[in-house]
């Protein structure tokens, strides 16, 4: 008995001591309630130095939390219980959050830097007038390939994926819209196509791709491609630029038939407490110099025209990540197809995943 009491006594004392130490560490960092700004972002999606700079400039303290999927983030915001002041969802999620009343309108008069954004990225279908969202990064979906493993082979079209000599060489991201999208694109249909005959045709065509597919994977696709586990991958452009940073033998291309154009935008969730601070943060991130540094750190494409001018030419002139107008005209933003069509897409994708070689 004595031993038990001693053990539990010790445990409680240690725990309380550690708690005290944590709160000391917290307060030594200046987290003290009212002057905080909570940011909810994708993992490693901002240059940490910029957060420190923002804290210094405004006197606000930033609590930085991360999520790994739009769905998880939406659930947390929908349930309430936490106070996120800023979040950075993708365009289809913004559409949904708007419909469900999870967002607060943004006061454009408090964001003088808004003018720096390239007009091409404003007034998009998922949020006309940018009432609720401000562009943060954008990108495409394309093919990344290992020039050395493939002995100088190049890609220009989605249809190149079907080539016989790529047996068991391709990795795909596990996304229904992405995979069905390039299936449709390879047949020269829109990736927002809802015509049943076209969808079935795309699924049949994807079925014939299975001998070439090595695996359909999640975020580990970056590690696998950089580690040369496979020669070809279908990935988002930001991931591509990151993988290429790790392994120089890789190259990225946006196929000529067209592809997806996606956006991650800053929004103010309805749970926000520090709305003033949230506006300050958005304005800070739109500053040309800040956005340029962030772009260099993260590797995705910036929608900030002034920031693009500040970036070194090897980034801003890179047509793989900043495609020319001709290419851009072929890129499509995902439309919100509605719940029913979306689950149909998911079903077709599932059938494709179960397709036997």
């Amino acid at each position: 008995m004595k031993q038990l009491v001693r053990l539990f006594g010790a445990v409680f004392i240690i725990a309380i001591g550690l708690m005290y130490f944590t709160s000391y560490l917290n307060s030594s960092q200046g987290y003290s309630g009212a002057n905080t700004l909570t940011i909810y972002n994708w993992g490693d999606y901002i240059d940490p130095d910029l957060i420190a700079e923002f804290e210094e400039e405004t006197g606000l303290k930033v609590i930085y939390q991360t999520f790994d999927s739009n769905e998880a983030m939406m659930t947390k915001i929908e349930q309430g219980g936490t106070t996120f002041d800023i979040s950075i969802p993708s365009e289809y999620a913004i559409d949904k959050m708007k419909a469900e009343g999870l967002l607060l309108p943004i006061d454009h008069s408090k964001i003088p830097n808004l003018g720096n954004i390239d007009p091409r990225f404003m007034n998009l279908s998922f949020d006309p007038e940018n009432e609720y969202s401000i562009p943060y990064f954008w990108g495409t979906v394309g093919i990344i390939y290992n020039t050395e493993l493939l002995e100088g082979r190049t890609f220009s079209s989605w249809n190149d994926l079907w080539s016989e000599d790529l047996r068991n060489q391709i990795l795909l991201v596990d996304g229904a819209r992405e995979v069905m999208g390039f299936g449709l694109n390879s047949l020269n249909y829109s990736l927002n196509d809802t015509e049943e005959a076209h969808l079935q045709e795309a699924k049949r065509k994807l079925g014939t791709l299975t001998p070439n597919i090595k695996a359909i994977v999640g975020d580990e696709i970056k590690m696998l491609l950089a580690g040369e586990e496979a020669a070809v991958g279908v990935v988002w452009s930001g991931d591509a630029s990151e993988i290429m940073g790790e392994n120089e033998k890789l190259d990225y291309v946006i196929p000529e038939e067209g592809s997806n154009l996606w956006f991650d935008n800053m929004v103010i969730p309805k749970t926000a407490k520090n709305i003033e601070g949230a506006h300050k943060f958005i304005n800070f991130m739109l500053d040309p110099e800040v956005a340029a540094r962030n772009t260099e750190y993260v590797g995705y494409s910036t929608p900030n025209a002034k920031a693009l001018e500040l970036l070194p030419e090897e980034i801003s002139q890179d047509e793989r990540f900043y495609p020319n107008p001709e290419m851009t005209s072929k890129l499509e933003v995902y439309k919100n197809l509605g719940k029913k069509m979306l689950s149909h897409y998911n079903e077709l994708f599932l059938e494709f995943k179960m397709h036997r070689k």
């Binding site: 053990l7 909570t38 490693d44 991360t66």
Partner: protein
């Protein structure tokens, strides 16, 4: 027979290699100056330095430890009381259904427990953060403790209690001087199981963290989205070494303790 013994040893060695190889691999790359998990460039301690300079990470580690200690201690107390209560139910039918209800909580998927906690907490207005994480960890640890303590309790002969009562022990005396000492191994086992469950729980914690409060498993998971930085390797190495020290320490403590019998009843 001899070759059989050798085969068994070989098998054991292979099993241990499989179990420890990933951890050693992870530790090896925590010293990699290249900053990735492929290709070893050179030896560096930079990532360890980064861990100690990252105050946020340090706070998260401390949070994780505090939650683990508090939740396992509280749930051990609750679990022992629960086990005693279940044992007191004399009739078989209700006792078995109580046990079954306890076991259902152990086998039900963490994701579902986590989601229901999230909905529950936000419904009754508890802010996500320290309290919600602590409460949910206590909740999923209690059934484990109950399961660890009950077999010991069933092992205990009722004559032991009768004897104590005959010698004039009060109800409290029987509990503290006879029952609890007898249950001690089960209580310790329950405590340590709860501790490890709490330390590495991701699924439940993921749902109930919020407001800047997070634990290590959740943090590592969200960092892994952009490829794991070697500073995570360094941190994992440190935690692994810390656990090893704890286990070795515990081993020596119990060995010293077992030499002298500390109470009169023969241990099974």
């Amino acid at each position: 027979m001899r070759t059989n013994g050798k085969l068994a040893q070989l098998y054991l060695v292979i099993v241990f290699i499989i179990l420890y190889a990933p951890i050693l691999y992870l530790m090896y790359y925590s010293f990699n100056s290249a900053g990735t998990m492929h290709g070893f460039d050179g030896f560096t301690l930079e990532w360890y330095k980064e861990v100690f300079h990252d105050t946020r990470l340090l706070i998260i580690v401390l949070n994780t430890v505090v939650i683990a200690l508090l939740s396992s201690a509280i749930s051990t107390i609750l679990g022992v009381v629960g086990a005693l209560a279940i044992q007191r139910v004399r009739r078989n039918r209700p006792r078995n259904s109580l046990l079954a209800m306890n076991n259902v909580l152990i086998v039900s998927p963490d994701v579902i427990i986590g989601a229901s906690f999230l909905i529950f907490f936000t419904m009754i207005g508890i802010k996500l953060g320290f309290t919600s994480v602590l409460l949910s960890h206590i909740a999923f640890s209690v059934p484990i403790v109950v399961l660890m303590v009950l077999p010991k309790l069933q092992e205990m002969s009722p004559t032991l209690i009768d004897a104590a009562k005959d010698l004039g022990a009060s109800g409290w005396g029987v509990l503290t001087k006879v029952v609890l000492p007898f249950l001690r191994p089960g209580i310790f086992a329950g405590f340590f199981m709860a501790l490890t469950y709490s330390l590495d729980d991701f699924a439940v914690t993921f749902f109930v963290t919020g407001n800047g409060y997070t634990t290590l498993s959740v943090e590592i998971y969200s960092r892994a989205r952009q490829g794991i930085s070697p500073s995570i390797n360094a941190l994992s190495t440190l935690i692994f070494l810390f656990t090893i020290t704890l286990v070795v320490g515990y081993y020596f403590l119990t060995r010293r303790g077992s030499k002298k019998p500390d109470w009169g009843v023969v241990q099974p």
